[in-house]
């Protein structure tokens, strides 16, 4: 399954590149890393349109899980802005 290999290898490379660039710019917020991983993931899932329908469905499920994580991060930021969370 070469298309799966290309998909996973490209994702791994771009995740590493994102980590490297953010660590070079001295970013210490895990939320920022996670948000950028989500963006990279969504871009590659969109680019690989020729994945078979089942694989696309399963990669979408992973995307929903990551988006749920992102929504939690946003919710915690909003709550801390409102003073509910420290």
């Amino acid at each position: 399954m070469r298309i799966y290999n290309v998909y996973i290898i490209l994702l791994a490379l771009f995740f590493m590149l994102t980590t490297f660039i953010l660590s070079l710019s001295d970013q210490s917020s895990w939320d920022l890393y996670f948000s950028l991983y989500l963006i990279v993931y969504l871009i590659f899932t969109l680019l690989f349109t020729y994945l078979n329908p089942r694989a696309r469905r399963l990669s979408n499920v992973t995307g929903y899980l990551l988006f749920a994580g992102f929504a939690l991060i946003v919710a915690s930021k909003v709550l801390s802005l409102l003073g509910v969370l420290p």
């Binding site: 399954m1 070469r2 298309i3 996973i8 791994a12 970013q27 992973t62």
Partner: protein, 245 residues
């Protein structure tokens, strides 16, 4: 348990990622490494998901079944002395999936098939007694069922359908290009990775790759199609199809 390599990679990556997050965050307090652990865990979950989409049947068994089928059809073609090029029919012209018909007579002119043909091995397609042919299921017949909807007749729609099947579903090539000019369709498949044993039947039916392309083209155009020529170049295969009236 780990016959599927994606399961092994997925389990290892998820485990390493999940274990490294608390270690890097709580013990080392290093955000970039914690984030790297998160990305490893994401890749692990993705690999586990993708592993479920791999076919259960091993590739070696598929190759064995293909070889047995090809050898049987080759023996039949050789025994009947068929020398005519096969004509790929769309599903609208057969009772069931798209199939290919190999005329029994070696008439140089292409047969005109007007009516729907019955789902049999030996069929009569015209008014003359010689208008008889062998109707066989090809590798392309099965792949047409993989399409979510019937492709349209334009070059772009055909290219999209072929890319969906050859790149996404079967993982046989890196890219596909289609050009249409009159009754000719030129399909360029780059880096095709499909190996098959040499067989006599490929001279008349086309290789499995050409067969898949011809079946999808016949279905898209809703017209009979035959494989005109097939050229293997360094990193690509050129298939020329002829659209029949």
């Amino acid at each position: 348990m780990f016959r599927n390599p994606y399961v092994l990679i997925g389990v290892v990556l998820t485990f390493v990622g999940a274990c490294s997050i608390p270690v890097f965050y709580l013990l080392l307090g290093c955000t970039p490494l914690t984030a790297l652990g998160t990305s490893v865990a994401i890749l692990g979950v993705l690999c586990l998901g993708l592993s479920r989409t791999r076919p259960e049947i091993p590739p070696e068994v598929s190759a064995m079944l293909l070889q047995a089928g090809v050898e049987n059809v080759s023996a039949l073609v050789e025994e009947l002395g068929l020398t005519s090029q096969a004509i790929y029919l769309p599903s609208s012209m057969t009772e069931g999936p798209p199939k290919a018909i190999m005329p029994l007579s070696s008439n140089p002119s292409r047969p005109h098939i007007r009516s729907k043909l019955p789902n049999r091995l030996i069929v009569t397609y015209g008014p003359n007694p010689k208008d008889t042919g062998l109707m066989v299921t090809t590798p392309g017949s099965a792949t047409v069922a993989m399409l979510e909807s019937k492709p349209g007749p334009s070059a772009t729609e055909l290219e999209s359908a072929l890319s969906h099947v050859l790149i996404g579903m079967l993982d046989l090539a890196n890219s596909v290009r289609v050009n249409m000019a009159g009754n000719k369709i030129n399909v360029e498949v780059s880096n095709p990775h499909m190996e098959y044993p040499k067989a006599l039947v490929y001279q008349y039916l086309g290789t499995p790759l050409a067969s898949i392309i011809a079946s999808i083209a016949a279905e898209a155009l809703d017209k009979p199609v035959s494989v005109g020529s097939e050229q293997q170049q360094k990193s690509k295969t050129l298939v020329e199809l002829e659209v029949l009236p």
